[in-house]
Symmetry: C2
Subunit: 689 residues, 2 copies
């Protein structure tokens, strides 16, 4: 039976279009054009297909919706309002105002019903690939015969901007490979971007490209008015059993506006007379604002009920599942609540100086192997550097379509391909599904390729863990193109991100411990290619504070503060200093973010007043001014050479560091001033004010 649109459908679409115009006009800011063009699609999707329960936006098996063209968020907020989420008409009137529920781009953990933070183009599309992977994986793990707990779809809207971004291209290629038929993407083919007509820069055949990615591609010729065609396209997309679907839908940006089809409707409110004629055109009173006809309100109550009924049905299924599979249900509930298994952290290995030296990437492999058994929610992967990152535990199954015979949907190791940016954004989607802890490997230097996604992990408060190996000039021969110098500063300056650079096995365990316990903070673990000794004086507990004293010394002449592979070199430097009669303390500072959260008292015990503090790190010294008076680092690009030659070249040796420390001690003794810890200088001010 073909779909029969009703009169209310037309009204609802007109309502959404008018609201888009009114909301932007009241805010004097925003993007009305795409919401007006996408109103028919949004209405049909949310009213007839998307299964969600507005009264419980966290229902486990809800369909996920992602607005990758996040600037069109008036549309998303409007749908959330119409369906009865915790978004009101008043919230729409507060669009883009300070601390409103309706910010300029959708933010997860901020607005009810928003799954992921979007706006930076292409990210949402890649997030949706993560959401679809997580759904496949959850189904494989938890579904049982007769109990299809997980079978939700992920729907994503994207525009021309997203289509052009590399992160979306990467994600699309991977989604095609993975045959994610639970993913349905709608490409808003409105031919307009900020520079005007896309013909000035974007003339490729998008549908042919997606066919090349092995997607199922459907075209809707008139997304403005042909409701039947839109409806049928979604039905067909849901029928596809072995591919993700792209529905390319031709729309008119700003549909109804006097300037429809032009970029003038894209990024700024319509003029008042334009809005008036729009309302008249749709048969409404042009004097009224924020019009929502009663019949539309009623219709949306019905659509919401469709979702809540489905949820109620599912709840029954879930209860029965719990009777037959109590262990599985308990496990599922644990994971949905983001609770960690009791005593999980006991699996973390600890080390003594007698244990043999090891690369911290190797130590990380040991931890991941333990964690893979202890934490079924761990979902690993690498951007085609598995053998270098050592991110795959030995008995892992790959996450692959079963037909490939390379793995199956229950697999917990993802082969991301050489796609760092998509990996970062997909991990955000994996987290957002709510049941996984994603980890992803690449070289630290190439986390930079993914910074757009890392930033959104931090902003969204998503627990995503990067296993970033080859963390310095210590990678040696690959040379300056691969040796990070500035990456640590970029990540340390990012709010709500924990950048860890562990110095030995205990510190690696501590980094994982804190990363996993930090439910709302992403972490990047910088790990070495080269071997490191196990330090005397390190422990998981101490390292978990972000910074601690490795070697204490009363009446010290100098403190060396360092991270990662340079800590052991400083330890050796201190032995040389001792021979010269200089008393030096050693501090390891594996994570600034965590250390900064400790009490001032503790921090000043670690980095006290009274003597010079010398920082030692094989990175740019930028940012060390907060902790040390003088800095030993690398304020240039690296070199291609065997790693010990590179270390020597940059004076990152015990003797060079000892020499520098001697100079520092002599210099400040000569000055005779009583030195205050740089840390204390500001911190004491902040504590007092």
């Amino acid at each position: 039976m073909p779909f029969q649109p009703q009169e209310v459908d037309k009204n609802a679409v007109a309502t959404i279009r008018m609201l888009a115009a009114d909301v932007a006009a009241k805010a004097k800011s925003g993007h009305p054009g795409a919401p007006m063009g996408l109103a028919p699609l949004a209405h049909l999707l949310w009213s007839r297909f998307l299964l969600c329960d507005p009264k419980d936006s966290h229902w486990l098996n809800r369909d996920r919706f992602v607005l990758s063209n996040g600037h069109a968020c008036i549309l998303q907020y409007t749908m959330l309002y119409l369906l009865g989420y915790k978004v009101t008409l008043d919230d729409l009137k507060q669009f883009r105002q300070l601390n409103s529920l309706t910010p300029g781009h959708p933010e997860a953990n901020h607005t009810d019903g928003v799954e992921v933070t979007t706006g930076p183009l292409g990210q949402g599309f890649a997030n949706s690939v993560g959401l679809a992977i997580a759904a496949k994986n959850a189904a494989a793990e938890f579904n049982r015969d007769g109990f299809e707990l997980f079978n939700n779809y992920t729907y994503v809207f994207l525009g021309d901007g997203c289509m052009q971004e590399g992160v979306a291209c990467e994600a699309a290629s991977l989604a095609g490979h993975l045959r994610l038929n639970n993913l349905i993407a709608f490409y808003d083919d409105n031919k307009i971007s900020i520079d005007g007509d896309v013909s000035c820069s974007f003339t490729e055949d998008v549908t042919a490209r997606f066919k090349a990615y092995e997607w199922n591609v459907i075209t809707v010729g008139d997304g403005d008015k042909d409701f039947n065609d839109i409806y049928d396209a979604i039905v067909k997309a849901k029928e596809c059993k072995d591919k993700p679907t792209l529905i390319s839908i031709r729309t008119t940006i700003g549909f109804g506006s006097l300037h429809q089809g032009t970029h003038s409707t894209h990024g700024s409110p319509l003029k008042e007379d334009d809005i008036r004629q729009l309302k008249e055109k749709f048969g409404f009173n042009p004097d009224d604002k924020f019009i929502v006809p009663q019949e539309v309100i009623e219709a949306y109550k019905g659509y919401a009920k469709r979702g809540s009924d489905a949820h109620a049905e599912w709840n029954k299924l879930y209860a029965a599942y719990g009777e037959k599979y109590p262990k599985e249900k308990a496990e599922l509930e644990r994971r949905a609540a983001q609770k960690l298994p009791e005593g999980w952290e006991k699996c973390l290995p600890s080390f003594t100086p007698e244990d043999k030296p090891a690369a911290s990437r190797k130590l990380s492999e040991g931890v991941l192997t333990k964690l893979s058994a202890e934490l079924p929610e761990l979902l690993g992967g690498s951007a085609d550097l598995t053998g270098s990152n050592l991110t795959r535990w030995s008995d892992a199954t790959d996450f692959q379509p079963p037909a490939t015979h390379l793995g199956d949907w229950s697999g917990r190791y993802i082969r991301y391909g050489v796609r760092e940016h998509a990996m970062g954004a997909i991990m955000n989607g994996l987290h957002a599904y709510g049941l996984h802890i994603p980890t992803g490997g690449t070289f630290l230097n190439f986390v930079s390729y993914a910074l757009g996604a890392v930033r959104l992990s931090a902003l969204s408060q998503f627990r995503v863990i990067w296993v970033a190996t080859h963390d310095s000039i210590g990678l040696g021969e690959d040379g300056p193109t691969h040796q990070p110098i500035e990456t640590a500063a970029a990540l340390r300056s990012l709010p709500n991100l924990a950048f860890w650079r562990p110095a030995d096995g205990n510190e690696v365990s501590a980094a994982y411990k804190v990363a996993i316990e930090s439910l709302k903070t992403p972490s990047v673990l910088a790990l070495t290619r080269q071997n490191l000794p196990q330090l005397e004086g390190s422990s998981i507990e101490k390292a978990a504070l972000g910074g601690y004293v490795v070697i204490e010394e009363s009446n010290a002449d100098v403190t060396l503060v360092s991270t990662g592979s340079e800590v052991a070199i400083c330890r050796d430097a201190i032995k040389l200093l001792k021979e010269k009669g200089i008393k030096a303390r050693l501090v390891s500072l594996p994570c600034f973010h965590v250390f900064d959260k400790q009490s001032l008292d503790y921090r000043l015990k670690v980095l006290p007043d009274g003597h010079p503090i010398l920082s030692v790190e094989a990175y740019s010294t930028y940012g060390w001014g907060r902790y040390a008076h003088v800095h030993h680092g690398i304020n240039r690009f690296g070199v291609s050479a065997p790693y010990d030659d590179a270390y020597k070249f940059f004076d990152m040796t015990d003797s060079a560091i000892a020499d520098k420390a001697v100079n520092v001690v002599n210099h400040f003794k000569k000055l005779g001033t009583s030195l205050e810890s740089p840390l204390g200088l500001e911190a004491k001010f902040l504590a007092a004010n």
Copy 2:
């Protein structure tokens, strides 16, 4: 007449393959597999097609070669050696050793004949699009009837890794749009990446994808042995008049090795017995190392002569051109020498406090308009934010294929589309061609999308200029997804990159002045969306020092040091402080990189000892410890709100800053210690040691 490969061709290819094995084995590191697989292609390309003069690697019309899969650089170094560039057999023996001419990945400005720095995957491919654009543009500008000065091709090799990277996808789409038929890309379809067979993550139809991008696509089925097919493919590619060409060439990684076709030949040397059997297989003595048969040496002399003859012919043409078009030739030589026109800087506008307030993006537009007339080498563009970045001067012509009727090849404004990362890498290619100063616009926050390319600008010493508008919470309503917090720290910590955040019109002019005069340093100019007053006390000359005193005050109680839009707010705060009887100095620090290069004496005059220094900037305070004692910044993500509300919310107002300054003054007075400038503390040590 079909191509007839000769015996020496076979020998040359075997030689290249054996050298690849020997070079990696001696270095005990490196990637022999791809060079062995690509040897036939490289040999045929360099011997029969690529026009270059090994004795003058800077010949203006040389064909450009880019190795996007830079890890295969043994191949590039080998070709440079065989042809007689300044790379010797001894240099090959020093592969990946400290300070050798043959680092682990190819570096521009380091090894003779290397055009661009590659290795981070996908970059080189995007660079090649820039090289091809520059060639089209140079031809349109300088060629005359009968004087085809510029008609070179750009040849680029890329592997599966490059193919998967988003930056390459973006660049491919743009190259197709631009119909760059002077670009010929060779895709090394060897089916192997680090995780093993690409079937684990990369199963798309690459050739169909490139057809969708509107590329000319040619397939070579047996790139290991079918020399004729390779030859014919290149001939056909060069015949294509309106599209870039992708030649997809099936090769066997590590061809000849016992492990050929597997990833074990990818990233580490072959074992000794494997190399022995390889040499035997090719009919050489397995005891010999670094074998280069005399006939191969002789043949390559001939190939080199082919290039130098072409260069000699071109020189004649160029001389005749100079007689007929002396002005054009002089201009071309000026640009090739990277000389700026005499007195160009006089076009930079200067301002007085009477001039009206303006957004620094608007001031930048004014400068770019002047520069576009003064500097024909300026090649502008934006990643689809032209109207927001204000990067296009009013009489600009777009760089477009003439058939589109949207511009022509002489156009100096590039519509990059929503492709920030490709824009960054393409700008590197534009610079590398040697005749242009590329500028590219996007929001500062989205420079992060392109950090992989920005880093390579800095490492390569390429003068690339980013026009990064919407530089802070001052962009307002778009909210935290678009408001940079950490971006400045990421860029300031990058070696050899100048990050500018100008405070007014004079500082905008200064930023452009220094950026353009810094021949070996890329710059990022962070510019506001909101209006800024023209400051009393600013000047182009002072701002060009990177930091200077805006308001001096003897016996000051406090110095406020700030950048960009916060400088004027600090100025107002100082007025409030004066009313409270507190004497405050004001320092503007638009560019740390340039300021740090000034004499210690000057820097200590700007940021002196003796009183507290308070930094004020609407960014993460990370990194300010070098310049100030206490920091007023934003160590969290921003907010979606009208910009003045956002500034109030974050206490970025004159009164809030004045209050903080009062607290700072009182706090440190109470302590009674004589404060040293944080800058001085380390700088004096460095000066003395």
